[in-house]
Amino acid sequence: MNDNELIRAIKTGNAAAFQALVEQYKDLVVNTCYGFVHDREDAEDLAQDVFVETYESVHAFREKAKLSTWLYRITVNKCLNQIKKNKRRRWRQSLQTLFGSEDDPPEIVDASVADPQTDLEQQERRNVLNQAIAALAENQQIAFTLSKYENLSYQEIAEVMGTTVSAVESLLNRAKKNLQKKLYDYYRDG
């Protein structure tokens, strides 16, 4: 069954077709989420959210569009929302800590536990890099993550982001320069 046939079947309430779609795209969605949140469990939870939204909004999907592009868009939006939520939560927690109230335990953000690689030095580098990527401007972060974690082409990234190929090229160049600068500052001060 191709993508359009799958979508048509899901629109008629075919549960097996939805299962086939999930099985086909779950790794793509989970890996993209991981590229943004750098935590396996969070990535799985976000991916679940993505497929729930896919299920609920499948009737709005235009069959001329590419299914993977649509899924990437939902995924990116969910991830960015989650990152914003996490930032707000951390801000509230830091305020609570400042005023001596620590009802909720602080959120543990430790990518090393979830990362498949075991080399500690490499882990440390990855953590530093992840922090630097998270500090990029939103558009640069999206372009960079889709390029590095999903190996998408400039054209594909442009389709997901709804922009031009040259804009993506420019975003990626700026992202690399900013990353180099942030990493340089980190290693110089650290």
């Binding site: 299962q19 799985e44 679940q48 729930v52 690689q117 690399k176 180099q180 290693y187 110089r188």
Partner: protein, 117 residues
Amino acid sequence: MKVQQKSKTAIDAEVNKALQSLDQIKKVKASPFFYTRLQQRLDSMHNKASASILNAVWGKVLRPALVPLLIVASIGAGILLGYKPEAVNRTAYLNNLIETYGLKAPDLSNYTLTAAE
């Protein structure tokens, strides 16, 4: 100056190593129970949706309609209780009794006042 230059080289090397670590990224895969979890979540969402529809019907339609319904029912009950068909048909009922048991009604004409009296 030489120390600074060396330090810059070391920093550049660290930066390059960090950037190169991106090339060794392994793709993360979904857990084997991904779809099962998703299905459970969708089922519980459907159950909640059904419950919320029932709640909405109860809260927005049935509960507001209950008060006027009770008033109408009370009025109807009152009317039914006040309505005594045997009282209306008492004469017919008595006549029926008289006929059934062969009773005779007393002649009350002697006791009836006439216009002359």
